[in-house]
């Protein structure tokens, strides 16, 4: 059972106090040019996920706290959370990830 920290309201809690919303930073093509989204581009947005071995940015909701969503960087091998950051913060550079940066 994972332990998470909500960067919006500051609460620390167990996995069961939160809800995982899957991969973060998906780019929704319709939001930018709704008339020109091919079926292939739509498929990739809707269904293709990175599922990496290693660092993964994902969305979580603070269901039993403030109700807001936030992002987390989790190592899928060790299950360690490396960072929690608000939705309005930039995605960390995973290729050069430094645990001190967030």
């Amino acid at each position: 059972m994972l332990v998470l920290h909500c960067p919006v309201c500051g609460i620390e809690g167990e996995e069961a106090d939160f809800h995982c919303g899957g991969e973060a930073h998906l780019v929704r093509p319709q939001s930018h040019d709704p008339e020109n989204v091919s079926d292939e581009v739509l498929r990739d947005y809707l269904y293709l996920r990175q599922n990496p071995r290693g660092l993964h940015c994902e969305m979580w909701q603070c269901t039993r706290g403030c109700g807001k969503w936030f992002n987390a960087v989790r190592d899928t091998v060790t299950m360690e959370f490396k960072a929690f950051y608000r939705m309005d913060q930039k995605a960390p550079d995973l290729a050069n990830f430094d645990e001190g940066q967030s």
């Binding site: 059972m1 994972l2 332990v3 809800h19 919303g21 929704r28 319709q30 939001s31 709704p34 008339e35 989204v37 079926d39 739509l42 809707l46 969305m59 909701q61 269901t63 109700g67 807001k68 969503w69 091998v77 060790t78 299950m79 360690e80 939705m87 309005d88």
Partner: protein, 1012 residues
């Protein structure tokens, strides 16, 4: 058998035999109905052995008689159903069951009796039950399944009977935090806990036994110049006296999970029924969040694989030593020791000092040196080196041991020069396996130790360290050094500071020579095939089974495990795992590290269902959400149905009415007079801000921003994949304020969904999302006389048809209470939904009832609501939707905007897959027989040949309609909207029911009734 007593005199073993028992008191207990006696301090296992009981159970597959082989949680054979009636619990290891007066134990897996077992015939046909026999035997013919194979498998599968009645005892769960969790209370755990305590950490130390000390009491030596037992007793007392330390006996750490979360089961009262009578829980489940974990779980001795090694009387060497020293019980009087290591010589010494004859020590190694060996030689015991057991002379029925056959171990594997040695006890030792189970539960990788011929902890990402025998460290001075350093380091890692590293206690112990692994001892004749060389005693897996799996092509050890069922019983292969790997490695001619090992998973030992459930039973099963009207429902005879965590009235049956009769009455009351429904559970979310309309346009399939203040609109919510997941009425309360209604079950999800899109995709839109479901009581007043009822109440609102139109919203007062009134209808009748602040709800509800009585008003429940919506052709989320249904499938294209550039799900709805003409579409069904109500979910087929047809759809809602006095149903049927008037069939049991595809609006197609 010799007839000599198995309980040794107190004077045996220098006056130390039976250290744990109180001989001054006698307890009585029953075993398969027979009354036996023991002493306080006995386990069920030691008491059975003291009474000369050899056979304690029948084996799983072949029903071979089995005796005890172990002394702790590793015991695979001695499983009992303990207790009576509802308190009976199956599969309890006798070695861990503490004896109390009046204990009742039943042996398992035998029929009709332990002594005579019909299933033992299976053993005669053991060639029919090889590895994978489930897959090979029960294949065909198909008709045999129902009457022959399945009953056989059901009877044969599973160990032990379940209790038949509700468990009368209580169970509890607790959540705790600590700096350092020490798993295991042997000498390593005690030393580690002390070091962590001295460093200032908050410590929990847990051991599965009724006493601390592990097997250190059986290993000799000294700690700080005193007997290790005395040292441990004093140190545990010191731990227990410290307020930062929690010392837990009878507590098994059964699982280790991510982020140092551990689950422990404490057997609080199993050993003493008086505690339960005094109100104690039977078991307590601890959920621990630890800063650091120190694993000191010790090691488990492994058996040796020789022919008929499962004969009662053949036991683990350390277990025999333990029974003698702890309980003053010897399982036999003429012992043979078979070993590949020095530790078994300690057993020889103990037996000798207790006055038990050691007929022979058989050592598989060419030679053995050292103090342990020398001491035994001095007793005059005969030693035979480079030899193994080539066979067992069994008593009739295999219920005991008469002699063993010794033969030299030759490279050729051929057996010769056999010598027969009479004996009634064999103490076997195949070396020791570190108990690495918990280390592996999360990410721990194992290394293979050639010295131990076993796996030891390697690397882990967890904040966990392993000390003592669990880490492959077996020598007492080294254990103490490693554990003390480990406990101190864990404390330092957990709390940041720990002071100077402490010095470990000084210890002395006998040195041991190296062990040499032996995976298979050749046997005489056909038994050399290995089909009586048992590896997994609990699941009856033999060396031959494992070899056969390899011959049949299995290479992965995970596959061999599942094919043979090795290690898959309740003991999880504690004694069998490494021996099987040795056999697989030999068969594949590769090394054990190349074979690898199967993954250990929680739980280490079984956890009771009661402990899992804890306090969450009966009324505490889950929290119940109550509407403001709930107390009225309770005194007015509501018959409930669960809706999420709500309990909604299904109907309000009157005296002597059935549910069905009540629903019919309620429907007709709404259709002809007026009804009142508690709709407070309906989800309510306020979306407010300058961009609220723009935001809802992106969420809903239709346009919400064009809604005028004071008007309502029905809307649909899709996910971005184009599938419908919720619907409801949106009202515009003000220019910048909308009230969104959701279904009762989706309120939380929809609020989170709005938040997600607002935060991720459209954060620049200026608005707030506020769930307000429980702030409001809401009820529907529906029926031709609804307006008259409202008009008879004191109000500043004009309810007349012209002033308050269909789909209008108005705020005002009713009977003195502030209200929001929506003229919307889910029943198809003239209907007003009235919302008032929750605290005013009950009074207003009562006022409406009082005002409505003269008009024939009746409260109605959810079922009448459902029937009426179906009569009107309205869909229900969760009935007509299942996550794969689009608004277009449901004929709701009128609510799906083509003008808006973008909204969630719009683009996906245009994909070829969701535009296919052969998708299943929403239709009504009228059965040819109007009195027949279709079962929910039944499949529909074309034509009348049910055996050949593929389903073309299914029934999604089905009712008897009181209004139309006939059955009605909805279905999702391929190309359904093109097929109006066609007949389809529904296979139900052995017959076909015919029904016609019709328009789903069964009643008042023009909607005149709601628009008056």
């Amino acid at each position: 058998m010799s007839g000599l007593p198995h309980r040794l005199p107190e004077a045996a073993l220098g006056g130390r035999a039976g250290r744990l028992i109180d001989r001054s008191q006698t307890l009585s207990f029953t075993f398969d109905g027979k009354t036996l006696t023991g002493h306080p301090g006995d386990t069920l296992a030691s008491a059975l052995l003291a009474n000369g009981v050899r056979v304690v159970g029948r084996s799983f597959k072949y029903h071979r008689p089995r005796g005890l082989i172990g002394i702790g949680s590793e015991e695979p054979n001695g499983l009992f159903a303990i207790g009576d009636g509802a308190r009976m619990e199956p599969n309890i290891r006798a070695t861990q069951a503490e004896l109390y007066d009046g204990l009742t134990a039943q042996s398992q897996n035998r029929w009709p009796s332990l002594d005579f077992d019909v299933g033992a015939l299976n053993a005669r046909f053991s060639r029919l039950f090889p590895a994978g026999f489930y897959y090979k035997t029960f294949m065909w013919p198909r008709v045999f399944w129902k009457h022959i194979y399945e009953p056989f498998i059901r009877r044969a599968a599973g160990l032990g009977p379940p209790p038949q009645d509700a468990d009368p005892d209580s169970y509890e769960q607790v959540h705790v935090h600590c700096d350092v969790l020490v798993v295991g209370g042997g000498v390593a755990g005690i030393a580690a806990a002390k070091a962590a305590m001295d460093a200032g950490a908050r410590v929990i130390i847990a051991d599965e036994s009724a006493r601390f000390g592990g097997i250190t009491d059986l290993e000799g030596g000294t700690i700080d110049d005193i007997d290790p037992v005395e040292w441990m007793r004093a140190t545990v007392a010191e731990l227990a006296a410290n307020e930062r330390v929690q010392v837990l006996k009878r507590t098994t750490v059964s699982g280790h999970y991510d982020h140092n979360y551990a689950v422990m089961m404490e057997r609080v009262a199993d050993h003493n029924p008086a505690l339960i009578a005094a109100g104690a829980p039977r078991h307590r489940l601890w959920k621990v969040r630890a800063g650091e974990v120190v694993l000191a779980s010790g090691a488990i001795e492994r058996p040796l694989a020789f022919a008929d090694n499962d004969t009662p009387g053949i036991m683990l060497s350390s277990a025999v030593r333990g029974y003698v020293a702890r309980y003053g019980v010897t399982p036999g009087h003429d012992a043979v020791i078979i070993t590949n290591n020095d530790d078994a010589y300690r057993t020889a010494q103990t037996l000798f000092e207790a006055g038990v004859n050691v007929a022979r020590i058989i050592d598989t190694r060419p030679d053995a040196q050292g103090t342990l060996v020398d001491r035994v030689k001095a007793f005059g015991t005969r030693l035979t080196f480079s030899s193994g057991i080539a066979g067992v002379v069994r008593e009739a029925g295999g219920k005991g041991l008469r002699a063993i056959k010794v033969a030299p171990l030759r490279r050729s594997g051929r057996v010769g020069d056999v010598e027969t040695i009479p004996c009634d006890l064999v103490c076997m030792s195949g070396g020791w396996n570190p108990a690495v189970h918990l280390f592996c539960h999360v990410t721990g990788k194992l290394d293979f130790s050639e010295d131990l011929a076993s796996f030891v902890p390697g690397t882990t990402n967890e904040r966990l360290r392993v000390v003592g025998a669990a880490n492959g460290t077996f020598d007492l001075p080294s254990i103490l050094k490693e554990a003390t350093a480990g406990g101190h380091a864990a404390a330092k890692a957990a709390i940041g500071k720990a002071g100077r590293a402490p010095k470990a206690p000084t210890a002395r112990a006998d040195s041991e020579g190296p062990m040499e692994p032996v995976w298979f001892m050749p046997a005489e004749g056909a038994k050399n095939e290995g089909n009586k060389h048992f590896l997994d005693f609990q699941n009856d897996v033999t060396a031959a089974d494992v070899e056969l799996a390899v011959r049949e092509g299995y290479r992965s050890v995970e596959h061999v495990k599942r094919y043979t069922t090795l290690g898959m019983a309740t003991d999880q292969g504690k004694t069998s795992n490494i021996n099987a790997l040795g056999i697989v490695a030999d068969a594949l001619e590769i090394s054990i590290p190349q074979v690898g090992t199967t993954r250990f998973r929680p739980p280490y030992t079984p956890i009771s269902f009661g402990a899992f459930v804890g306090q969450k039973r009966g009324a505490l099963f889950q929290p119940i959400r109550r509407t403001p009207i709930q107390s009225w429902h309770e005194v007015n005879g509501a018959d409930y149905e669960p809706v999420g965590q709500w309990r909604r009235p299904y109907c309000f049956p009157r005296a002597s009415e059935t549910r069905e009769q009540a629903v019919i009455r309620e429907v007709l009351a709404v259709r002809t007079k007026v009804g009142l429904l508690d709709a407070s559970t309906l989800g309510k979310i306020e979306v407010s801000g300058p961009d609220a309309g723009k935001f809802l346009d992106l969420m809903y399939t239709n346009v919400m921003s064009s809604l005028k203040v004071g008007r309502c609109r029905y809307g649909l919510l899709m996910n971005d994949q184009g599938f419908l997941f919720d619907d409801g009425v949106v009202a515009r309360l003000d220019d910048d304020r909308f009230l969104v209604h959701t279904t009762s079950g989706n309120a939380d999800h929809t609020a989170a969904w709005f938040e997600l899109w607002h935060q991720t995709e459209w954060p620049k839109l200026n608005l707030f999302i506020t769930p307000v479901t429980e702030q409001w009581a809401q009820f529907a007043i529906a029926g031709p006389k609804a307006r008259q009822v409202l008009q008879s109440l004191d109000s500043d609102l004009d309810f007349s048809a012209d002033a308050f139109k269909f789909m209008d919203y108005q705020a005002g007062h009713l009977n003195g209470a502030p209200v929001r009134v929506f003229r919307i209808s889910f029943s198809g009748e003239l209907s007003y939904e009235v919302a008032t602040p929750a605290g005013r709800g009950l009074a207003l509800w009562q006022a409406v009832i009082d005002a409505g009585t003269v008009h024939g008003l009746e409260p109605y429940g959810t079922e009448a609501l459902h029937v009426m919506r179906a009569e009107k052709g309205f869909i229900m989320i969760g009935d007509e939707t299942d996550g794969t249904v689009t608004p277009l499938d449901l004929g709701l294209s009128w609510a799906v905007s083509k003008k808006k550039a973008d909204y969630v799900g719009k683009r996906a709805l245009q994909t070829p897959a969701l535009q296919r003409p052969d998708r299943r579409q929403f239709v009504g069904i009228e059965t040819d027989d109007p009195t027949f109500v279709l079962p929910d979910g039944v499949q529909a087929i074309d034509g009348t040949d049910a055996s050949a047809a593929e389903p073309i759809g299914y029934v999604s809602s089905t009712y008897y309609s009181p209004t139309l006095d006939r059955s009605i149903a909805f279905a999702l049927i391929e190309r359904g909207s093109e097929r109006m008037g066609e007949t389809v069939h529904f296979p139900i049991d052995d017959r076909l029911v015919a029904g016609k595809i019709v328009d789903p609006v069964f009643y008042d197609k023009e909607g005149e009734r709601q628009n008056v």
